[in-house]
Subunit: 245 residues, 4 copies
């Protein structure tokens, strides 16, 4: 439990390069803001990776040395190569944690792990969001108040087309009248997956203290566990088979 | 609730054509045996479809007129065309029920809906299996005893690499020492999915009364429900947004 | 599946007798309004029972002839006798369905089946509530739109101290800023339990078409299933024990 | 995360005092064996408490200074005072972890938290049990192999009358033909609960390395999380209520 958690913060990193307003909010990219925060937490080391690096920065070597991967993507989901998605998926099933933020709901990796469309409703008018903790005592809500607010954000509304989460940690209230399952825990294979709704390129969400706290908690919750080897295939009996004698 | 349930029984239908021993057990194919049973149940109509038919027998028209699809495949999973898999998946997410039997755990459609490898352990020595009902009061166990036995069967053992089922109905005990989650309920989109382990081409599993009872119950449980339209995308506010004024 | 469902609608029936305003809304009691609606549905027969009847109207004979019990209580939870609660609980575990409405969250029977305090936040200013369907394809949402509204209602807010529901069907949005898990499915023993939030003595909630539709759907969903006998205790081996020889 | 976990190991401690054979296996009681093991683990401090101490050793002060409570009882469940059960329950709902072992399934505290009878089948002929990990990557299976065996044990068989566990970690195979959900995770209120089947007064189960490993893992998994205050009752609106104006 005391071991270092090695996090790779992945970002599409396109909006920040093309939109001056966004570049002003996130001069080092959203990944830069998230990585800076995580690097300041005890027991966590951080690297970043982005879409336009070779192999999107997610080489086998990088993934082999990643305990928890965080994912932000939006306008270029389709540019993520299938072989990289497959490589990430194998690592998740083998135990690597995965945190998916905001518009990452539509990423190839998240949809492939969920098996559903991951579609939702949305609106971009900068309305107020209030996230309520509905799973008291959950590690991802460690140190949180019973709710926190984001004064101006993009709305995501139900229906959110995901499998029922193994645990539901946050439900969002939106000023415009919608609700959303905003903090959703899943396990796939040996890997833990946390979808966390907040985040948008034009609001300074990744500087919000509560959001950053949840991300830190999520990283700690999603760290791999050294469990039984995933072992499949043909097997000899462990007991004598008598019905065949 | 009183409406007719339209079932399509899909079968790879290859073993039966190439192996005389199997052809003798299932002269009309496994789909024939399953379809014959289901057709005799009140409120159910049945058609069949197989791999070697055009579009694998799963045209848009057939799927549009199918409430519950059952799936058996083994040696030719890779021959199922991706566009047909995608078509079936869309229908499941839109509400069509799906029952996956035995070696169908490795079918493209099941793996795509689960998001995991769906791998497992196996052994083929004809050992005894005992399936215990662990979800009392579940519709899929309607009319069952607390367990039923198959005298000679292929073993499937844990670890079964699936997401945790929404409901676990059966756990199998195997003579050789393994256990298996043999009756697993999932919901993906609006569609209900039931994985049921028993079944093998060389044992007369699909003539077993308990197995057939479970299949009938599964069909009834998985029938579509006429619920809200799955509606996504950009939305106007339902309430006045004041934080922007 | 075609059998008649025998429903007993239970009501505390005190507010209606002491408060003229409430008596005006529900001249035959809330149970009267609910029972009248259910009795008009195909395949359902209804009786009512209230607190001030002998044994609260829930004799062994009544319960033996009840498939689904609905429960409304508020001011007199503590007057419900423990032996009646125990009798109801045994029947639920044995398969009888239970629908708990609104302030019934604090009833002895619901708290005993949940194992938690079932506490929550509340406010009574007649604000607007919007209930979103979050489990597409669920039988309890059959025939519903993606949301429905109640123009003036008491607010219930998270944290709602219940075990995580087996399935979450509705989430409420409240005008005053809260959210609530308003439609929660549980199974305990062989019995299905549905908690449904709407309902209040001074608003005409139990005349609302959407609310009544959900109640009808809930009754159908909660009907008992004739499954394996619940059988416990000392057992002889089913297989020869060799490790002891 | 690095904080000390304060464990209280509770034991009925009657069998050991009255049965010389059991006393020989557990000269310091089962609680002594468990406590000795846990006390040797980093980051864990241990005290013990037993039935015949005043207030069963579970005073308000002891509970206030307990992060995780472990429970073994069998022949004297009914002697545990209701007010102590209530006190323990409040602490669990408030965040204290609870590990329940073997015959503790019938303890007042476990049944009260589950809301079901917690009944099961059993047989005492010293047969072999094999526990399979079915939740890969779960913290309670940290460091385990894919299964472990107990050569001679009491059998517990399905149906086990519990709510469906939030997570199912172990399934047992028994030589005599039964299966059992042997490692079950629940959350109630803010508290984490783990039921672990192995353990019996006449077999030296609590010296088994795999069993002890699971207990240690369980303690770490069940430690309390400092989350939002559990806060209920009447509330003022967080947003302006317009529908009433």
């Amino acid at each position: 439990m005391a071991d270092i958690i090695r996090v790779t913060v992945w970002n599409e990193f396109r909006h920040e390069k093309t939109n001056p307003q966004i570049a002003k909010i996130y001069p080092e990219g959203m990944h830069g803001a998230i990585a800076k925060h995580l690097a300041a937490q005890p027991g966590i080391t951080v690297r970043t990776a982005t879409l336009d690096e070779p192999e999107h920065g997610l080489t086998a070597d990088v993934l082999d040395n990643t305990d928890v991967l965080t994912w932000w993507g939006h306008m270029a989901h389709h540019e993520v190569k299938d072989e990289v998605v497959e490589r990430v998926k194998e690592r998740v099933l083998d135990g690597m944690g995965l945190l998916v933020f905001h518009s990452g709901h539509f990423s190839k990796i998240f949809r492939s792990l969920m098996g559903t469309t991951c579609n939702l409703k949305w609106r971009e008018v900068g309305e107020k969001e209030r996230l309520w903790v509905v799973s008291q005592g959950h590690p991802i809500a460690e140190g949180m108040d019973e709710y926190f607010e984001l004064p101006a954000t993009e709305m995501y509304g139900e229906l959110f087309d995901i499998p029922q989460p193994d645990e539901l940690v946050f439900i969002s209230w939106f000023e415009g009248g919608e609700v959303f399952r905003s903090g959703c825990c899943f396990k796939r294979g040996s890997g833990r997956i946390f979808y966390f709704r907040p985040g948008h390129e034009t609001y300074p969400i990744y500087y919000d203290k509560a959001v950053l706290r949840v991300i830190t908690n999520g990283v700690r919750w999603a760290r791999p566990v050294a469990g039984p080897k995933r072992d499949f295939g043909n097997r000899k009996p462990l007991e004598q088979i008598k019905s065949k004698e």
